[in-house]
Symmetry: C2
């Protein structure tokens, strides 16, 4: 038995088959399915750690690529690791930088060894290999670390996708072999693009490597949502049921439901804080562009059903004023709300699973939110 | 006796003559001397009302000119007034817009009636008269409202300064005659530039009008600090001792000491939050530019002697990282700290007055901060 990590399945919804779990990490217990706010540069944009606790964040995600470049993983290590550096004592997951370096396009070159890339900050040259990424993630010190993978774009040729997938598997093995700390849970990542048979091959290969948890990468990269859901259905029976599954970079309300219904336990997304900085709110009646003139004299809460600090204390009219005036508090209040909205949605999803009524809850939520079933 | 406002003198420092007071307003009691954070656009930049309470803010200042233009005083009135609109239930003071409209230069024209100006936002034409400003400030609903005055720039000719001062006195009378709400304390404003005899004339004229409190305007507008201190010394014996005195737009640590030593009870300043957004911190050992490379690996608190959230939870290295990465949390943490630093300084000044040792405390503070006496 691993002294640092465990994953228990608590309940399976008799109506939907969705699962409720409990993931124990060195920095705390996470009820799953869960949503992870993203703190790319060692801060969730516009939020303080205290506010993240208050909205009941269970675990944060932070980005290896960004922290490696700035302030540098060695500096974070000197600070006592990411938890200490950013003042967040709860669980943290770091990605592997794979998604970011592959997004660099012309600035990167892939070989069997790894990926050579140029920094988007200053153009300096760097090499990420599975071994190097394990070293960086060990220095950052997150509770959960992701293996270095190639995130294939959409669309991509089957031939390239297959070759890349096999390389991702070889890299996953190299990550496992070079992992430096046993108090970090290493997750492998399933790739395979939108090809069902490749996804199946990848799920089996990654499952066979016996990671503590399994990531699902390369989805929500531009493909139609039904295609993503198809891939999740292919993977679902092939990944071990007794290990957590993390669908990377996915977190809109409909995707959260559809993911949970297909066996996913963990999600992350930058949408919530990005649209907040753009003056938009997620609400129980659907998304609202608070900066619109329609809200000029609307003295109701951003979402009257929400229990967050922003909704309990301020009006849409005030938030709209802050947006128009270019005030930082606008981004703060909408970030608090949008994150709390998503975390509360996951709380409700967990409760619905426990009460064997996830499909009913989905129907209720979709109707109010304005989504078709 | 006024049922809404009272000002009691609690103690006079036997060492310095500085005074400790207590100003009661409809939204709470203010211990003086006090420092007021500035919430220009119905928000103290980067701060939430909750954070303002936490750092022990007693009273906020907000700007009539800005709120009149955006979102409009009528909208604020519809929201139930500024307290309700911005979610701050403590005392608020609004300025009169005088300083802002006179700063518009070519965009404004002064007559006996008032000031015609063009909005800095959209170029639209507006007229501020004493009566109009009283109407706007009544709609905003602050506890303390300032009379409409002309803030003369530095340097200015004596002749112009004198004419302007007399107009400010006539406008002060018109403000008094047109005040709409008795639950707002109207303060007159002493002008007179840097001419001692004009300052004396103005202090007498404003004192004679028997306002609830008296503002001191037109200082800290570019003149050397000793000249400002001279003007305060001229005014000190001429303003009634039993009424609060507010030195407008002044709030650097040395000016706080020098003002208190010359009878000032209230201060406001945008410096604290402005330099915060520029990566600078006020500390007990003097100001620090946290964005400098010197702090890259400095894991100590912004100010190890400070009790604020930023200093208790984060390091200079982390704040520097946030600054370099362009993260909102940098401005937040430095704003919390710089404001708390100034509020704590005022708390210490009040304690020193109570203990008859303000000159000793000033000496101790200046030595540590690196100021010459």
């Amino acid at each position: 038995m691993n002294p640092y990590f465990s994953f228990e399945l608590i309940h399976e919804c008799s109506q939907s088959g969705a699962r409720l779990g409990r993931l124990t990490t060195p920095h705390g217990v996470i009820e799953t399915p869960c949503f992870m706010p993203v703190g790319t540069q060692a801060t969730v944009k516009a939020m303080s750690p205290r506010e993240l606790w208050e909205i009941k964040t269970q675990i944060l995600l932070s980005n290896t690529y960004h922290l490696y470049l700035r302030p540098g993983h060695e500096l974070v290590k000197m600070a006592g690791g990411l938890h200490s550096f950013m003042g967040w004592d709860g669980p943290i997951l770091t990605d592997s930088g794979g998604f970011q370096v592959f997004s660099l396009g012309d600035l990167r070159k892939i070989t069997e060894e790894g990926v050579e890339f140029r920094s988007h900050l200053d153009g300096s040259r760097h090499l990420f290999t599975p071994e190097k990424v394990m070293e960086i993630e060990a220095a950052l010190g997150a509770d959960i670390i992701m293996a270095f993978d190639e995130c294939v774009p959409y669309p991509a040729e089957r031939d390239y996708t297959e070759k890349s997938m096999h390389r991702t598997h070889r890299w996953a093995k190299r990550c496992k072999d070079s992992q430096l700390r046993e108090d970090q849970a290493l997750f492998g990542i399933v790739q395979g693009g939108v090809y069902a048979d490749l996804r199946a091959d990848s799920a089996k290969a990654i499952a066979d490597m016996d990671f503590i948890g399994n990531g699902i990468g390369g989805l929500s990269v531009g493909e139609p949502k039904p295609l993503m859901y198809d891939m999740l259905e292919v993977i679902d029976p092939l990944l071990p049921k007794d290990k957590p599954r993390y669908l990377m970079g996915v977190g809109s309300p409909d995707c959260l439901f559809e993911g949970v219904l297909r066996g996913v336990d963990m999600f992350d997304c930058v949408l919530q804080t990005r649209i907040a900085r753009n003056g938009q709110a997620l609400t129980s009646r659907g998304p609202l562009t608070i900066r619109n003139a329609a809200f000029e004299k609307d003295f109701s809460a951003i979402d009257p059903e929400c229990d967050c600090y922003a909704c309990k204390n301020f009006s849409r009219a005030y938030v709209r004023h802050l947006i128009k005036a270019g005030e930082i508090l606008a981004a703060r209040l909408l970030s608090i709300h949008n994150l709390r909205f998503s975390l509360a949605l996951m709380e409700n999803i967990r409760e619905a699973i426990l009460n064997d009524r996830l499909l009913d809850y989905k129907k209720e939520f979709y109707e109010k939110y304005g989504l078709s079933q």
